[in-house]
Amino acid sequence: MPGDPVLIALHEQSQAASAENLRSLRAAWGVDRSWPERYISFIHDAVRGDWGTSLRTGRAVADEFTARLPWSLAIGGGGLLVGALISVPLGYAAAYRPGRSADIITRGYVVFSQTLPAFVLAVALAWVVSANWRLIPVYTGIPTQRALLPVLLVAFYAAAPLTRVVRHAFLDAAAQPFMLTALAKGLSRAQALRRHAGPHALSTLLSALVPQMAWVIGGTAVAEIAFAIPGVSQLLVESVASRDHPVLSAYIMGAAAMMVTVQALASACRNRLDSRLVSCAA
């Protein structure tokens, strides 16, 4: 395997990579066993709450993560939540009069967000807002001040595709026959859209949130690195550099478990909103 963690560690401690040193460190870290053996013992320990110790720092992996998780959860979760909240009124405004100003502006917003990568905007924001204008101390402020720009950044990028999803869902529902009935009953366009197309738009938004989560996990990493937030991503980049396998395995397992949980939660929420889905599944 290229990038042997044992070799890297010995090199960092300026020790000779002698056969004896290699053998003792391999035995201490348990990397001398075959990979199926290591995998089984990793799973065996992990389900009992023992995630092993970091090869780089020597601290328990669980401790390393719990110290950093609040930052990442606040930025990722907060960003996704704010993004979803922004996308509903924007998508509604775009669907209310397709092809008019609100529609054109939100379309421009989506194209902009797809053209300008998040990390470029992050670097620009960090310097312009914090260094040039001195509005918010990005690198030195209290936690709320430091997390504000990253949350807004993730929200800005998470909301853009969701805006189009919401708009599309509103237009889909608007083309249904029940909307004509609603208009014939004397509801205004706005009332009809909100009352009769709203649930459909929310349900579609919920299912779009899951793939968006995948982007948010990467976007959070970019925001953390760009704003120098001591979150999980920083730990991750350092661990990749030193091939800190226990930390990396724990992260991959954790992220996969989170995605599966979120998927299950989202489909449960969708079933509550739309009873037709349950009867289809049954």
């Binding site: 397709p98 998040a118 470029v120 260094a131 990467g218 980049v237 991959i252």
Partner: protein
């Protein structure tokens, strides 16, 4: 107007490609007496904090990002086709496994795949291309699955089946020609995203090592010189912006047509 912008962007991209092909300055040569040099004939876009030619670095980084994106797109094309056709055509255990694998690849975030690949293969440009390709493979497979199911309902597939054609023959001669054109269009539109994805991974430090210039790692490296020399950050950012704008304009998405007006 749109055509003008598109051809302008294309002209710049072609010019950059030619400049890369015919050689520019050395992107790695360090000239400490040329630190933060202004743009000149010798340094088309000036020099960075170590006196390295920014234009040569941009061209080299652009080439690498583009080749990584092309490798990733090819991986996604081949893998997505195989997985998608398997999920649609093979009813047994193989199809089940292919469906689960496609779902998993579509669900797992790009960065998690990248870290997994880097942990196994070590950080390199190929690792990044492989992870971007794997991440794109899931969605490609789902697209192929849908397109195949749609094509299977066509009359010509039924008549070919009635004539006694085997499943492989139908897949090769009737399903593939129906699936390939929309799939290639999708992947062509995806190249821009792949280049942006590669740059983001390079920004995070997962790309090639720090000596090799990538647009993402250049922005990361140069951001501490914002006050002395903002152009160092702005130039790679503009290169990225120009590239993805050109890609977005080249592949214009279809406008939705709805009776609600």
């Amino acid at each position: 107007m749109r055509r003008l912008i598109t051809s302008l962007c294309l002209a710049i991209v072609v010019a950059l490609a030619l400049a890369g092909a015919f050689g520019t300055g050395d992107p790695h040569a360090i000239q400490l007496d040329q630190r933060h040099a202004q743009a000149s004939l010798a340094y088309w876009l000036g020099a960075d904090h170590l006196g390295r030619d920014v234009f040569a670095r941009l061209v080299e980084g652009g080439w690498r990002a583009l080749s990584a994106a092309l490798v990733a797109a090819t991986l996604a094309l081949v893998g997505g086709l195989v997985l998608g056709l398997l999920t649609a055509l093979s009813p047994g255990v193989l199809g089940f496994l292919a469906t689960r694998l496609a779902d998993l690849l579509a669900l797992i975030p790009e960065i998690v795949i990248a870290i997994l690949v880097v942990a196994v293969l070590g950080p390199s440009v190929f690792s990044m291309a492989l992870s971007l390709g794997l991440a794109a493979m899931g969605n490609t497979a789902l697209l192929v699955h849908g397109l195949t199911r749609q094509a299977q309902r066509e009359g010509y597939v039924a008549s070919s089946f009635a004539l006694g054609a085997g499943r492989l023959h139908i897949a090769r001669w009737h399903l593939l020609p129906a699936v390939l054109p929309p799939l290639l269009t999708y992947l062509a539109g995806h190249i821009g995203h792949l280049v942006l994805g590669y740059s983001a991974l390079a920004f995070l430090g997962l790309g090639a090592d720090s000596g090799t210039p990538d647009w993402g790692s250049m922005i990361f490296e140069y951001r501490s010189y914002w006050f002395e020399d903002p152009m160092l950050v702005l130039l790679p950012a503009m290169a990225l912006l120009l590239f993805s704008a050109a890609m977005n304009l080249l592949v214009e998405p279809q406008r939705n047509i709805s009776p609600w007006r």
